[in-house]
Amino acid sequence: MAQRRRKNRSSSKKDQEFISEAEEILDRMRQDLADLNDKRVAGAEADPDVVNRLFRSAHSLKGLAGLFGFDPIQDLAHRVEDILDGLRLGRVHLSLPVVALIDESVHLFASLLEQIGNEEALAAAAEPIGRLVERIQAAREAPAETSEFGELALEPSLLRALTEYEEHRLRENIRRGRHICLIDANFEIISFEEGLSQLTTAIREVGEVLSTLPAPGAAPDAQIRFSLLVASDRPASEIASRLALPAGSLRLLRAGAPGAADTAPASALATAQAPEAACHVETAESDDRAGGGQRDAVEAGAPESLKSISDTVRVDIHKLDELMNLVGELVIQRGAIGELVGRLSADAATARIGSDFAKVHKALDRKLRELQSAVLDVRMVPLSQVFEKVSRVVRRLRSDLGKEVRLELRGADTELDKLIVEELVDPLMHIVRNALDHAIEPREERIAKGKDPEGRIHIEAFQRGNHVVIAVADDGRGVDTAALRALAEAQGIVQPGDLLSERETLDLIFAPGISTRSEVTETSGRGVGMDVVQTNLTALGGVVDVETTPGRGTTISMTLPITLAIIQSLIVVVARQRFAIPLNAVHETLLIDGSEIQRSEGRELLNLRGEALPLRRLAAEFDLPAASPDAKPFVVVIGLGETRMGLLVDRLDGQQDTVIKPIQGPIPAVRGIAGATELGDQEPVLVLDVSALLADLGRRRETP
């Protein structure tokens, strides 16, 4: 399957993606622009909804172009965004020249899109772009400046409460075009200091706290409310979601100007994909974005070719899910047919028709496999999109932190299920941010240690079987395991007497609680929120591994399944009940003699070619009756990433295609069970959650 996918990728797939997204944005802009012009001709006010939508379109286009590295388009979009921002904030008047300028830009964008892939033509377009940019600049600067903070929707009482320094910071942040927003938060009076400092720390990760003010208005009993004036490069929606703020507690006072250092192409992309989510928080000052749905066939009267250049169709991922489900059902039906074929062939009376049937079944089987991989293929996206985001974040952090860091990316064309890629972004960013922020030493320190003054972060993605491994390696200080251990003891996560292997100690960085402590960041440089990273990856059926060499660096590898859809499973039987184990996690199966099982500290072990393999009895794990002691057990060696374990089962029952389905009902998720599947008969079979079983293996340290 993997080879097939490779073959399908054309070199300009990336360009095509860009073109198709950009075309959608331009379509929307043409309509809104026509709308705007109608208003202007009628002498009416500019509809703020339309202006906002246009502004966002330009913003999205800028982000998109930045993401795909089309600088001329990004530059122009930036200027258009500028002037729209002025329009939106009332600094620029809605006039014919303004509308004409935007219109001209949209046309220029369209013609630039046609030139993509043609470097010469793109280079030649630099001149008209430059001219247009100058004219836009001139139009934008024409009107007079408004009063200093007049545009801020901030209560005068709060504004007056600012100190001179805070005012200066506010002015400075506005000048830099950062987003300014106000976050309201309630705290228990008894513990408000702690709560406030936690919130402040969290905000500092995304921006600057300009001022903390007691908030006007009544707070609930025994609570105190603060308003935090915050400046950030991130859009309000991102801040709200990063800080998990309750709805309505964040108010955007001033949207950042596009001039802010690469404001938010990441979020711009998110906006393009999920408009309702991205605009959620901004509702305070703008509309909701039902507009996407309203684009009926209103023709904006654009003179250039209306034929789309790209032949890409964008599809709702849920439609693909449905398709996937249907294919899954078909695969299961095929299993049932296979059984019938077997029965027909086994009976002498029907053996002839049975063998004909078998041929038909085989042909069906082949086609079904093709269908299956074709549907899977549709869901696959290259990691390059995620990598682009990472490199932007690194660029920004690099300048913010004043560290010299070289980012190396390998394997951007590795493909993963779209849904997994979406979920991967946050954990990956987190790891990279940690590496940059804490692991890589400042220049002087590196020089003193005799290291290359420039730090290095190397991200590599590659396929390994049915998994994709993404490894983030830095050449920073490495994890100080002794400090880590001391910290874990201080927090009561391990007892002073506990014997931990090097690996178990290192795994402590995933312990919840270690995460929020700043000590780790100072001493070992690692561990901030790593428990969250692990939780997210486990939810995707993946695992995280850490390797470190003190003073030399750390490598964090994430191993993820390529897809969440149809998988091959090994069926095992324990106490006459069948269970399915995803085959991608199965390394091998062995038939052993009970006497081969050894014990160490009460844990069962198997000598597997010289390596100690920890064993678990599935029957005992699930409180099922144990098999008779003289029956020879089977060992299923399972593993993801670096961890391995052997599951003892009574019997193996072959391999099957399975679609993991969620279990519906009132019982909360059962640990160790990923879902259930059907195998052609009516009885569902439970699917084991291998990553949870492996995680439990490390966690459950019996004390003798």
């Binding site: 969620p662 519906q664 009902g665 009132p666 019982i667 059962v670 879902g675 059907e678 009885e683 079979v685």
Partner: protein
């Protein structure tokens, strides 16, 4: 109509119709609910009921796969047209005597509060009753919280199950 005759597989249109109308009525006139529709069934020879509006379908008992690490009143999961549903043994859930299922046993598929569905294993399904509000009595102290109300029918009481309680596993653990 005898709901028990409804075979496994897709619910008859009549059923969905009934359920939908009941739901509509319930939503339409909150104050003047004169009539409630109840699906009655048997557990340990006594009559019980659930609101029709919460019932999605009734299916014959099919192979149930036990699930480890769950309370023992959860029988396991069944597969129903591609969905995997948990089935609760209502006898055990209501602390009645355990019993082998008979030919009349059915699984009543109900909507739980969070919008998902779950199956309730019962000894047999009886009928759909239209009852007026004045036939409803508060449960006695002896009914241990799983009964929402008692419905007088002639000289007998039918216990109406409090579905949210019966399906509320996390709240109790």
């Amino acid at each position: 109509m005898s709901a028990g005759s409804d075979a496994a597989g897709s619910p008859s249109p009549r059923w969905q119709d009934l359920a939908r109308r009941a739901a509509e009525r319930r939503n339409a006139e909150v104050e003047s609910v004169a009539v409630r529709q109840l699906l009655t069934f048997v557990l340990d020879a006594s009559p019980y009921a659930v609101p029709v509006a919460r019932v999605r379908e009734i299916v014959r008992v099919r192979p149930i796969t036990p699930v480890p690490r769950v309370p023992n009143d959860v029988c396991g999961v069944i597969s129903l047209r591609g969905e995997i549903l948990e089935v609760i043994d209502l006898r055990l859930r209501l602390r009645l005597r355990a019993a082998q299922g008979g030919r009349a046993s059915r699984i009543i598929v109900v909507h739980s509060a969070d919008g998902s569905v779950a199956g309730l294993l019962v000894d047999g399904v009886s009928e759909v009753l239209n009852v007026s509000e004045d036939a409803l009595r508060p449960p006695t102290a002896a009914e241990a919280g799983n009964i929402e109300t008692l419905c007088v029918q002639g000289d007998r009481f039918i216990s109406v199950i409090d579905l949210d309680r019966v399906l509320g596993f996390d709240a109790q653990r």
